[in-house]
Structure formats: C-alpha cells, structure tokens
C-alpha cells in the first residue's frame, strides 16, 4: 500500500533529508567544539525542514527554520560565546552519581519504545501523507489554515498552556539570574 506511493523525487528528497538529519545528529554528539555542535544541530534542523517540505507541510518547514534555526540556535551560540565555553569540556567527571547508568537505561527504554511504536505503526518511508491515508496535506494557504485550525481549536488548551509555561520559565530564569548576580557582587566585595 505504501510502496505504491513511491516516486523517484520523493525517494531522493527523503534520502537527502535523512542524511542531513543523521549527519547533523551524529555531529552534535561527536564533535568536541560546542560551536561546531551547534552548527551540526542547524544541519539537522534544515534536514527536518526538507522532510517537512517533502511531506508538503511548507508552512511547518519555514516556521521550523525561523524559530529553531533563526532564533533558538542563535541564542545557543550567543550563550556559548558570551560565557566563553567555546573550548572542549571535560567529560571524564560524572556530575551526578549514577548518571551514566541511568542514561543507559533511558537509551534502552527510548529505543525499545521506538521499536514497539514502529512494529505497530508505519515505518518511516518518505511516502507522502501516510498518516492521512494517502490524501496530501493541502498546499499553500490551505496549509496554513490546516495548522491554524488545529492549533486554535483542537489543541487550544495545550497551545495556551505551552505559552504560559514558556513565560513562567522566562520569568523564573530572570529571577534566578538576578539574585545570583547580587550575591556575586557582595561576595566579591
């Protein structure tokens, strides 16, 4: 059923996007310099944007680039540069006791969950609109409308709750940062 939906351009787009995502993701982990890791992350985000376009979700693709590549990773870079942690960090020390063992358990659980999901659901194939049973998402203005309707009707509560959560996080961060600086100044003097 899914196999019939293949076309050469679809496969090409999927392969390119998948390679970008994988190369970027491996880069984030393997590269030692934090700025290079951030660059790899951008590559991954672009790969995901390409995958979105291949699924004719153009609006999501552009928003992905504007929000993640255009704002969030720039802020990562800002922090990396501002704090001057642009050299390698020692990874030998374990900040939390038993962190590595827990991480291992987390990896196993995540992979197991993914495999279980894939066994009962569709594999990632690059075929268009597997989840909407073959009907492609409406392009152009319809695309924006589909996303907008979903966000502001079906998922309104989740959307607003996320917004509130982000505001709380920002206010909390500002509060913590300010208090810390005062104590620093007093400690210095």
């Amino acid at each position: 059923m899914i196999g019939a939906a293949y076309a050469i351009p679809d496969i090409l787009a999927f392969v390119v996007a998948a390679l970008m995502i994988l190369a970027g993701a491996i880069g984030v982990l393997a590269v030692r310099n934090p700025v290079h890791a951030a660059l790899s992350l951008i590559l991954t985000l672009f790969g995901v944007a390409v995958a979105f376009v291949a699924q004719s979700a153009d609006f999501l693709a552009v928003v992905q680039i504007i929000v993640y590549a255009g704002a969030i990773v720039v802020l990562f870079l800002f922090v990396i540069m501002f704090l001057g942690v642009d050299r390698t960090d020692p990874v030998r020390v374990e900040p939390l006791v038993g962190q590595r063992a827990l991480a291992g358990v987390g990896v196993v659980v995540t992979i197991g969950g993914l495999v279980a999901l894939l066994a009962s659901s569709h594999w990632v194939t690059g075929a268009i609109a597997v989840s909407t049973s073959g009907h492609p998402t409406p392009g152009g203005a319809g695309n924006v409308r589909a996303v907008g309707t979903a966000v502001f009707t079906t998922y309104l509560f989740a959307f607003e709750a996320t917004a509130a959560l982000l505001i709380i996080a920002v206010v909390g961060a500002v509060l913590l940062a300010r208090r810390e600086r005062r104590m620093d100044r007093e400690g210095e003097a």
Partner: protein, 410 residues
Amino acid sequence: MMLASVVDPIYAHGLTLAVVVIVLVRMLVGFAVLMGAVTIMIWFERKAISDMQSRLGPTRWGPFGLFQTLADGLKLIVKEDLVPAEADRFTYKLAPYLSLIPALVTFAIVPVGGTVHIAGHPVTLQIANPPVGVLLMLAMSGISVYGVVLAGWASGSKYPLMSAVRASAQMISYEAALGMTIVTVVLATGSLSTQSIVAAQAHGIWHWNLIRLGVVPFVVFLIAITAELNRPPFDVVEAETELVGGFHTEYSSFRFGVFYLAEFMNTITMSAVIVTLFLGGPAGWVPNVPHLRWVFPILWFLIKTVFFAFSYIWFRAALPRFRYDQLMDLGWKRLIPLSLGWMLIVAGFLIKMSWGFLMAALVILAWTLLSRTVTIGERRLEGADSLLPAVGERPLPGRVLRAFTDREGE
C-alpha cells in the same frame, strides 16, 4: 507539480523544454540584475555620502567614477587571502557565504513587475512565488544572522567576537518586531504569497498597506529592517570607533568582498521587500502605450526601490549611531509592544468595527501600564534610589557595595 501549478501560471500546461528554459533564464536574469544593481548601489552610496559630506567621492574610473566598484572588486580578488592562526578554519571560510546566500534567496520572492508573455507562456517577473512567501524572507533573515555571528566567532579575535555577540542579540531582538509587522500585512491580505500581497494593493494608492494599515507598521518595519541589516544608525555590530571593523575585521581579499557584496545586496533586497509589502510593489499608473505596458510596473518598482535605497544612504549620513543600550530599549520597550498592539488593533478592525475599538482601548490601557512599569524600572536604574551607577560610569566597588547593603537593610 500540482502545488506549483497553483502558484505560478507558467507551469499550468505541463513542464515542457520551453518552460524549463524560460525559468532558468528568468533566474539568471534576476541574478545578473541583482549583481548589476549592487555594483551601482555601492557607487551610488559612495557618491551620495560624499555629496552630503562635501567631498567628491570616487572620480577616477569611468565617467563620474562609475567603474570604481569594478576596480575595487578586481583589487579585492587579487589580494592575498589571509586566515588568522587562531581562526576556526572551516567556520571562518563558511561564514561569508552564509551572509551572501540569504541575500540572494530573499530577492527571489520579490515581484519585480507584472506578467509578460514570452512565446505564449505567461511569465511572472518574479524568480519564485512559494506559497509560504514572506515567511521565506523571515527565515532567510534568520539565517543571515549566522554569517555575522560565525564570522565574528571564527576569527579567533577579540573585537570580532564582541561584534558577534552584539549581532546575535540585536538581530534576534528586532526580528520579533519585524515578524509582528509582517503578520499585520499578512492578516490584511489573507495570504502569505508576495504575489497576492502585491495584487491586494494594486487598485490605487489608498489600497497600499502603507496607508491601509495605518503608517505605524510601515515605520516599525523600516526601523526593524534597518537594524536587521546592521545599517546606520543601528550599525553597532561594525562600529568602527569601538570594534575596529566589527565581525569582518580579520577578513581580507575575496572573503571580505563577499561580506561587502552581501551587505549591499541585503540593502537592495530589503528596499525591494519594503516596496513589496507596503508600497504595492510594481503597482502604479500605467499609460496605454501599445506593446510597452509591461515596462511601466517595472519602472514603478525601480523608482520606489531606489527611493528606499537612497533613504538608507541618507540615514547613514544624517543619523548618529545608537548606543547599544538605546538600541535594546528601542527594540524591546518600544517597537515590540507597538507592533504587537497595532497587530491586535488591525486584527480587531478586520473582524468588526466594534472589536477594533475595543482592541484599541485595551492596547492603550496595556501601553499605559507598560510605560508605567518601564518608568519605575528606569527610576531604579538612574534615580535617587539607584542600585547601579549611571550608564557609561564605571562603578566603584565601595559604592556598589553600599547601594546593595543599604537596599538589603530596608
């Protein structure tokens, strides 16, 4: 294919060889025109600035020094290419192209003229008309931040790094106001595509977004885009008096040329984007001349774009540079609330008159509250019970301590 046929009439009758050739030629012509425009823009800027400062400017090469840019470009290409020893080589070499490519891509969505017929095919004078339209411009301006930030960081040098830090904060801050004004335009048009935005403004000057949305979004957009371009008076990123040359201090030869090119290309592209969003793009009076009717929209577009390109030069000559804290104040405390409030008012009026007035009242209330908050905050910074020394004054350790301890004692 189905998607493209909705967007561009040229694909309506299938993808023949002629269509492919026309699309490729359109792309090449767009590229060549932009490159030519950049050459002229650089000359124009130098001449206009010279004139405003009672100098002569370039005079040697060609009539009125017209070929100065070509001579400079040639000189830059044959100069020695240096990579600093402390540089991060890969990122250092990547950064110039991250500046240049967004400038090129953004121009692709600008409709330069109406539709012409070539060999029976309707050809829109626009390189691409993606359904996401203006959002592509926002995405590209998000990417162009990386050119500046990575160049500054990768140079492995002090001043470029400071410039990079400034750039990342500045460009992110103004992107918010920029996005909000674009939302206002998109709300009024009901479409993201630049072609539709221009079409909605085609019926006379009263339909231009400049007037239809009230002048506020246009002003906010103009200020925000100037900051986004790092052009004076918002050029703290390359403030010569503070940071040598800013992010491209360590760059030389061809790579410096690429940055230079990108900067001017961005200026032209953004002038064109302003014209598209707020001044109807190619809209204007078309006299009934046989066979030449298609020329006039292009002329109108050019006139409007040159006007904005000139006003950027004028800003540079007339306005002193903002201090960094003033820049941030303007962005966060004025432009973002203003554009957000105006967007809500426009959205209200689009639904119903009464909703519009309600929104306006709410926005005025919120604005009053906000300005009160800002005043209280500023008094704490600068007034009698200030915690911090005045801006520009170096804090003495004793004074800071006293200010804090006094405060704790209250």
